[in-house]
Amino acid sequence: MGNKKWMKTSALTMVAVGMLLAGCSGGNNAPQNSGNQSNASKEPDAEQLAGHLITKEPLELTLHMHFADRFIYDDNWPIFKEAEKMTNIKLKGTASKSATNSAELFNTMMASGKVPDLVHHQNKEQYDSLGMEGAFLELDELIEEHAPNIKKFLSEHPDSAKYMKASNGKTYFLNFTPDGPAAKGWFVRQDWLDKLNLEQPKTVDELYAVLKAFKEKDPNGNGANDEVPFFSRDKLSGIYDLLIQWGVQGGADAAKRGFYADNGVVKYGMYEQGYKTAIENIAKWYKEGLIDKEIFTRGPKARDILLGDNVGGMTHDWFASTANFNDILAPKIAGFFLNPIAPPANTEGKILEESSRKGTHASGWGISAETKHPVEAIKYMDFWFSEDGRRLMNFGIEGKHYDLVDGKPKFKDSVLKNTEKTVIQQLQEEGGQIELAFHQDYAYEEQWTNPIALKGIKDYVSNGYIMEAYPPVSYTDEERNRFEELNSAVLTFVEEKLQKWVLGAEPINDETFSKYIKQLEDLGIKELLELEQGAYDRYMK
């Protein structure tokens, strides 16, 4: 039959390509590859398999992958076909392509009792607790025996290794590891500074002076007092991001609002005395119009609107996308220059950037307890941690998406200069940069990041402004329920008060602040901190 013949030829091609690739990478990066091979040759069943081949005969594994309500594994993704050629493992997606709610679909799949070999999920905590109930395999031993690349990665990235463990100390889930140093930075309209003969603000007091000048001296020159000195496209983070200027930590991380570690002691920024000074000042700035009057309702389009209207002066936001406004607005606004600057030194004289890009991500995958092919599955997961697999996931297919220049992948012009789709869109459409467990390579993003952003990032990284992030601790089921219960009560109160104080709806003074502290204690802040301390200590061990 034609079909069989096709299979034969393609099997032969696969083997050939596999060997070819093995040869290639051997030439480019000898030490690492030989490491792989010596590890692989310990496997009795892998003796005659060349390169990344996992099985002699093609094998099909099933996969559930549906995340962020729109990414669904597609059997036709060329990047996974490429991986199939190298490994002899074909993935078959089981997630419905018409479903639009990833979380619901995952729960339905689990409840149906038909769990495919590999399961992708976007919620590590839920995955872990199902793993502890026995739905997913413990991966530790499998990794030890069959996954040299994962093992190597985990020993080189102890933080990731810690994060991947569930609260019982075992690993059920391998997660996506993003790469890249900086997240947010301070951006100021440099052309406005120049016009008003001002220096970049180096301290909080100078920051106040600059914002005040933006408000009063009409830097956009339209004769109207319409400038919005400081704005944010995040309704809540806009204010939280300012707290660090008065030395209040823990505000920057939206997922774990308030928590930070001070020499091993877990604290809550909005429960510290310094918070009063911070809020007093922020309320004053707001009253004087230095902070966007609409900061709590402006929302995600704030940058587009305020920068586009030539009224926004300063913001604290992600480097790459904010720097892009220079390209977008240069033809419309003469002299427009939105410049990343170092964070102004806070009241304690420290220059700090609290936001950082997370080294861990809650998306990833693991192996079903019902699979008949645990070894093949872990080897396939291991493939994406190999040098070739990592490059394939980061940059796509050689010759199609990138060329190797001096041993480094460089995107083709057809990818970089595509005006209809961004680089990441182009890759994701073909199965690249998908949030399964792999180690992202910042070099992929660097190639198309705006030079102004790159300069800012370099400045922040080389000067060490970026603070160490609070670690992603994990809880037992019981702890998590209690944490959510207490934390939502505390956070509701904190945010309600924060907005009322900033808006001036309630006065902030010693009396109201001590009442606030008392109320936080009534809501169980102490128990919450104790609980968090336990999880933190367990994580740091």
């Binding site: 689990m110 219960e485 009560a489």
Partner: protein, 306 residues
């Protein structure tokens, strides 16, 4: 008095096609309303999707306790009930009045145009309506504030003021968005009024106002009563998706309702047990209210759901 079996059988055979027509509806109720009640037990369990409903361990009333012992429980309940009550007081009569007004219009084109324009907002998604509201009420250049300033007033940041939240929410989501659509059922009821009654009234010398009061209104009272009873039944289910889009921490004081709090506590994803407990609580309160409303309705208007 019971009809004997033979007679039942004879009836079944005689009206078999009618009974056949009934089957799909019965099936619908069994599949979508009665069978899912089996799952209600997870409100009393520590539910795991992997273990399934039957194998998950019982935890008694723990899920209810988690929800009742929230320090905000009373505020949440009060906000939920007040918001519902205001919906009943202010939003519920609007479609009735609108339908009565439309009924008096004799110009067909004008009537159809008004009807179309008033029910169109129903088809706009709540996200878009919330966006429109936010823009209209923006403190610096929202149209409402511009108008207030032109009339010599002072600009106001409406969406952060707890005193304004209920007005804004009911005005936009319940009245502007839904009133026109709500008139359809009343207009249908009005078209069923016998014209002879009006003719008789005119002969007796009744003016327009009296005709409305003594003929039109009594004719649609049963419809109003039933709509009211049904509305009361879902009183705790205020449209929380829309609240999430419109509220702020600064307006929690009046805007935070049971469902938004549960949502914010991050408990909805994966915590079906707690969500079910909250849903069950809402359903029980709703059920009691329906019984009460139905009794009242029967007493006052001689009509009810049963």
């Amino acid at each position: 008095m019971l009809p004997n079996l033979k007679q039942i059988k004879a009836n079944l055979i005689k009206d078999r096609y009618l009974y056949l027509l009934l089957i799909p509806f019965l099936a619908w109720y069994i599949i979508f309303a009665y069978k899912p009640m089996y799952g209600l037990q997870i409100a009393f369990k520590d539910f795991s999707v992997y273990k399934g409903i039957a194998a998950s361990p019982w935890v008694g009333l723990e899920n209810f306790e988690t929800f009742f012992r929230s320090p905000y429980f009373l505020r949440l309940l009060k906000n939920t009930l007040l918001l519902s009550l205001y919906q009943l007081l202010f939003a519920f009569p609007v479609p009735i009045i609108l339908a009565l007004l439309l009924n008096e219009i004799k110009n067909g084109i004008f009537k159809k145009t008004v009807q179309t324009f008033t029910y169109l907002p129903h088809f706009i998604s709540v996200v878009v309506v919330a966006g429109i509201v936010t823009n209209f009420l923006a403190p610096s250049n929202g149209i409402i504030n511009i108008l207030i300033e032109m009339m010599g007033g002072e600009k106001k940041y409406f969406l952060t003021d707890p005193d304004w939240f209920r007005t804004i929410f009911i005005g936009s989501m319940d009245i502007w968005k839904e009133a026109g659509f709500g008139t359809i059922i009343y207009i249908a009821a009005l078209s069923g009024v016998n014209p002879a009654l009006y003719e008789a009234a005119v002969i007796d010398g009744a003016n327009r106002w009296k005709q409305t009061w003594h003929i039109t209104l009594p004719a649609i009272i049963p419809t109003i009563a039933i709509m009211l009873v049904m509305k009361v039944g879902s009183m705790l289910e205020v449209g929380y998706e829309a609240i999430i889009l419109l509220y702020q921490p600064a307006t929690y004081e009046t805007a935070d309702v049971i469902n938004t709090y549960v949502y914010r506590a991050g408990l909805q994803e994966g915590r079906y047990d707690l969500a079910t407990a909250v849903g069950l609580f809402n359903a029980v309160v709703g059920f009691l209210l329906v019984i009460f409303a139905n009794k009242m309705s029967k007493k006052l208007t001689q009509t009810g759901l049963w």
